[in-house]
Symmetry: C2
Subunit: 297 residues, 2 copies
């Protein structure tokens, strides 16, 4: 197979005369590493497995969008808050989130039995696959709206993309610790299909409702991660208490070299508190008002 750099080298140059450097292409991972054979259970081809397992080769999260880097003081002062619903739209958004949470707690079995690291990971992975949807759907909707209506965006898109990427990084971090089962994966696919459809339709009808909805979702996320931290402190999570933060997490949140799992959960909770503020604020604005949030702020 010829690499892009070998093929049509002259034609492929851009204004800068750039061609794709060969040394970057040679970092393409080898899909046949026998040292991962112990992960193969239940999978037919090594290729499938290797591709499904999220392996951090040191490049994950390397080029992230600007996002807040929290201080120790900031992550520790996060509190559970609630913005009381005022309009009918607010109440509908709040009701939807409460309804979803109640059902999820019931059907995921999270309420029953002992909460372990395994159970926490199941919950976090599932919720973060959903949490990454709204920012991207909203960004795409506003981008296409700007193109279609020949109007400016008023600076919202970068904040929405920052949120989407941040939630996906929460997911990638959790996936450093667990490789979910086939059944779980099907639930994720089903949940995304449903949620992308409903949220996209809702965003076309009422961005105000959608941002309020996400604001309330993030209120719940702060509650969830606060409970997780309480489980750390009451000794319910012995495996995580001694566990170092995954390298991806240290890189993404600029954590110190000796950062632990608890620091990761603290950083994630601070992110969720930030999204809570962002989305409640965006819901208060008209869609042609300028976004008051700067990148990474």
């Amino acid at each position: 197979v010829s690499t892009p750099a070998q093929k049509d080298e002259i034609q492929m140059k851009d204004a800068r005369g750039t061609t794709v450097p060969l040394d970057v292409l040679s970092s393409v991972p080898d899909h046949h590493r026998p040292d991962l054979a112990h992960f193969r259970t239940g999978l037919s081809k090594p290729d499938d497995l290797e591709k499904k397992h999220v392996k951090d080769d040191g490049t994950m999260g390397q080029y992230s969008l600007p996002h807040p880097i929290w201080t120790e003081e900031e992550v520790n002062k996060v509190v559970i808050t609630h913005t009381p619903p005022q309009s009918f739209t607010d109440k509908l958004a709040y009701g939807s989130v409460k309804f979803m949470r109640w059902n999820f707690d019931l059907f995921s079995g999270f309420k029953y039995g002992k909460r372990t690291e395994r159970k926490w990971l199941q919950r976090i992975i599932f919720l973060e696959t959903v949490a990454g949807v709204p920012g991207m759907v909203a960004a795409m909707t506003r981008h296409l709206h700007s193109l279609r209506r020949l109007k400016r965006d008023y600076g919202w898109i970068h904040t929405l993309l920052e949120e989407a990427e941040n939630e996906r990084m929460h997911l990638m971090t959790a996936l450093q610790l667990r490789n979910p089962s086939a059944l779980f994966r099907w639930c994720v696919v089903f949940a995304q299909g449903t949620f992308v459809t409903l949220f996209s339709a809702a965003y076309l009808v009422s961005p105000r409702f959608c941002h309020r909805f996400v604001g309330y979702l993030e209120e719940e996320a702060v509650k969830t991660y606060t409970k997780c931290l309480e489980d750390f402190d009451s000794g319910r999570l012995p495996l995580w208490s001694d566990m170092e933060a995954p390298p991806l997490a240290k890189r993404y949140w600029s954590l110190p070299h000796d950062a632990m799992m608890r620091d990761v959960i603290l950083a994630i909770r601070a992110d969720e508190a930030h999204h809570r503020l962002v989305n409640h604020t965006l819901s208060d604005l008209d869609k042609d008002d300028p976004n008051p949030f700067q990148p990474g702020k």
Copy 2:
């Protein structure tokens, strides 16, 4: 109306204790400026007009993603190139672009009569409303794929978003110079509806086809802007020859204070040449290969 900062101030704080600064919110544009009355022709409410006209208050393109800033030497050495189609997929992509271009040239009437600034703006505005679609659709598809399949992205999303934003900035720049008619706006809406649907479906089936397709689209874009520069040099565009670059363009491409319209077209052409390289390269890669392009490079 209470502002977000007044309402529930305590509840709205995030980890950093941020509330939305009031001075930012007060920069929301006044939707009732009588000095824009001369733009009102054919529109019922001043609000409509004011919202449709893309007014740069100095904040447009303020927070753009990293993107290449071209030197004078770079923009001048851009050439028309062609990557010969090799596979069946390549040929299909090339044929689709050729077919679209032929039809567009015919039905837009661009082939007939004198090419003026007005005609160029019509063409550029229309094409850029389409050009902004692929990057965003591809980014969203890969983002959702990563969430749904619990896999990493391999660093493609930032390049795709950079392209989408860059094309939207081409559009916003052209919109500084012209406020299109109602009929034109309907054509744009129709074109987006069709193109978003087809391109999204195609991206799910074959990202390789889609990036090759965009590669060929960008080959045509470089041809188009090269012809525009030839029209400058042969004296066909007297209005633009003496026109300064719009402030948005100077800001976005970091152009010198005395930059002219011709410099803007040169920068746009260099962007298109860059997208040509990027998309032909991405089409050569497998979707789990790392993206060799760094942000803004």
